[in-house]
Symmetry: C2
Amino acid sequence: MQFFEVIKKSKKSKARVGILKTPHGDILTPAFVPVATKGTLKTIPPKDLKDIGTQVAFVNTFHLVLHPGAEVIEKFGGIHKYSNLAIPLMSDSAGFQVFSLGRKKKVQTKEGDEGLLLNISEEGVQFRSPRDGKELMFTPEISMQNQEKIGADIIMAFDECIYYGASHEYTKEATERTHEWLLRCIESRKRKGQRLYGIVQGGVFKDLREESAKFVGAQEIDGVAIGGVSVGETKKEMEEQVRWVAPHLPEELPRHLLGIGRIEDIQEFVKLGIDTFDCVEPTRLARNGTVFQGQGKKFARLDLTKSRYLKDKHPIQQSCACYTCQNFSLSFLHHLFRERELLGYYLATYHNLFFFEQMFAEIHRLIAKSLI
Amino acid sequence: MQFFEVIKKSKKSKARVGILKTPHGDILTPAFVPVATKGTLKTIPPKDLKDIGTQVAFVNTFHLVLHPGAEVIEKFGGIHKYSNLAIPLMSDSAGFQVFSLGRKKKVQTKEGDEGLLLNISEEGVQFRSPRDGKELMFTPEISMQNQEKIGADIIMAFDECIYYGASHEYTKEATERTHEWLLRCIESRKRKGQRLYGIVQGGVFKDLREESAKFVGAQEIDGVAIGGVSVGETKKEMEEQVRWVAPHLPEELPRHLLGIGRIEDIQEFVKLGIDTFDCVEPTRLARNGTVFQGQGKKFARLDLTKSRYLKDKHPIQQSCACYTCQNFSLSFLHHLFRERELLGYYLATYHNLFFFEQMFAEIHRLIAKSLI
């Protein structure tokens, strides 16, 4: 079975419509990959995913290893069965946690001091669990083992997501480490049926990004993920990094952009040839009471906690066909958020996920007509 | 339209199967009335109620008046439309809050001191809002006005729920006040189509309970609610109070037991002729990770937060047909509760509500066969 097929290319940009084929179903790309960190798309029961239109979700290896443990998930036959998620799933490698835990303690040396949350070496990364202080080791081999036990359809090579502000020297060293780790990931894989994505790093440096794209694209992998872009501080910086990388990636490989999914940015990245995006944006914002309204590039974020909605009889969006918009007013949603009622988090999350799916459906149409 | 019809009486006890007819549908009794305090059955989207089997829900006037306000709900055409709850609804009168706010400050006199949360007089009750300290007045007339604006199918007369430990003298006085208030409620009602229940009080005293049952049962009301029983400290005390009251209530009126719904108690009260029960038990316990297992009088409460469930592949209950039991293991539910994932609260609430509906369906069968 061919994993990825491009079915339509835009004449106006590098944007393309494709299909990713997995044992748990096909994914029409460009696709949004909502984040189900711990095996659950926060607040959403799996039975709702079909109506929402969610095609694929993203789980975090680091969090699942902390609880319930990769072994437990394996005993249940993998994360799909464990979590009752009957859609294609992607898992990350825990590489991002190297970055985010490291940043908290400003780890910039190879040899971490006693008490640091992590210690990066050629071998891998030693974590101190943020839960109980227990020491945990992540190496490319251990990441592969864990991801094989978890059993997502698409898995990621173990990488080091480089902190913002790192020097050219450190970035070069860390990127080379990521390349070495990719080779070890490919070497140590045992399980069939999973697709492996290599991760391009290189920080904010054009030469390193290009080099990384060429290196990763040349390996025996099923797809490429671009890492570290979400670490960028400006939109321009982020776009630049993808612009440097994209031309050097093999056309036939699917491209995933890690951690990016702001509405403002998605179309630009689609035009550069990105196929899939994971991001906590729609789900996390929803839980804070922020919901999306609008279409295409014209949209707004509504803050449901504002008193101005107390008497508002309109739905979030008149034209939206989602369960929330078809049945509930802004007034009721405001009431739920003001009273911290759990149903509010569900209804806002439902709408935001549906909204994103509609936005991607529109992107498919725009590409098919070469309008973007 | 006849409001209440008894369709089957047990030969073994006072238990009976009946039908309550409301503009929003029929309710087969005995029935459980889960509590949707602020217009939402915490975590459960209304679209799930049919599958769960919930026939009717209970909303709290006091809480809805505080937010979003009875006027807002009225502008939306009532609580059914506002909350998208297309099932029969009952509302309380705010009388219970007299008790629960009062108990916090041990208000035992008619004239509350400055700073007390409430002040009870013949006229009604003056509250200090627990939200912002603002003064609120509840009288029988205001309670009726608010309940008419909220628009539940079944409304409650304004009463004083007497604190535990009150003297015979205070209880007599408070019960007579409740009777006076019932007359004022009947007098001040304006809206057609809602059914009014009078509330029997009388505390822990047989003579006062009997007197109250006779008085309330003789008024122009559509049903009787027994109040203050949940305040009792022992099961025996609670049962006694219902046992004193029940024989003095008109057979043809439906009987609601306020605030009672522990599995252990329900069958006993059904045998005394109680038709409906509201209680936070299944929903509140669910949010704490406690779920029900078992059948009939043999049941257990499982605490999903316990590590013993980490690897447990069983559902909460093998024979349960609910969404949660059909799709999720104890291990996954444990994982959700340990990680405080919102989906856990939903899945546990779903199961507990479904469990209660099954229990009441069993009660209908037992009554039909005169087995209880």
